[in-house]
Symmetry: C2
Subunit: 115 residues, 2 copies
């Protein structure tokens, strides 16, 4: 078995790494899932309902998601201004990941509780 054969598909490795890098951070899945369900959320909503984290961290997570084209940031002309976040169309590509992650998580919770 030579090295060439042994290495798994390089593309797949890179794909995993890319996806992992994108989804790194403790709260991205949770944010995406909340946006999937509620469609439109204000910064404050995300902070209070979705994830209980400091504004600094939430801000960073949101910026990364936006940079990766998964969410859209919209400034509302209110007083004081508010900012809405929604999923992009492109974000539907990531739904299978989240869905399967939740499914596994549910199974795993039961499994671990058995012990």
């Amino acid at each position: 078995m030579d090295n060439q054969m042994f290495d798994i598909d390089k593309e797949q490795k890179l794909a995993i790494n890319d996806a992992m890098e994108l989804l790194s951070g403790k709260w991205k899945f949770c944010i995406l899932h909340n946006l999937y369900i509620y469609e439109n959320m204000l910064f404050k909503d995300l902070q209070e309902k979705a994830v209980k984290i400091s504004p600094k961290v939430l801000s960073k997570e949101l910026q990364e998601l936006e940079r990766n084209l998964l969410i859209t940031r919209t400034v509302n002309d209110t007083k004081p201004i508010t900012v809405s976040y929604t999923l992009t169309d492109y974000a539907k590509n990531i739904q299978p990941v989240i869905r399967s992650l939740i499914e596994f998580g549910l199974v795993h919770r039961r499994k671990i509780k058995e012990k």
Copy 2:
């Protein structure tokens, strides 16, 4: 809209958190994917072919995966001893996550390269 209605299903939140905790660490997906493909790998193989990381980190990742019932560790009666790792049956529950992650990663690589 009261809080009760607003909060997404608590179970789902917990599921996400559980799954995320389990899969935290830079190399778990890669390890699982390699084991899925090659079925049986030695510590050394994992280190050289799957992930290029220090033995300390690899060891830690493997222990966490084993503790979470996803892989099996088998000591081989060789000289010097070798240790084989394989996926458990239970690990098939996590395949959809990995598969969808790879699929998304492949799409995302192309998407990002466009920019």
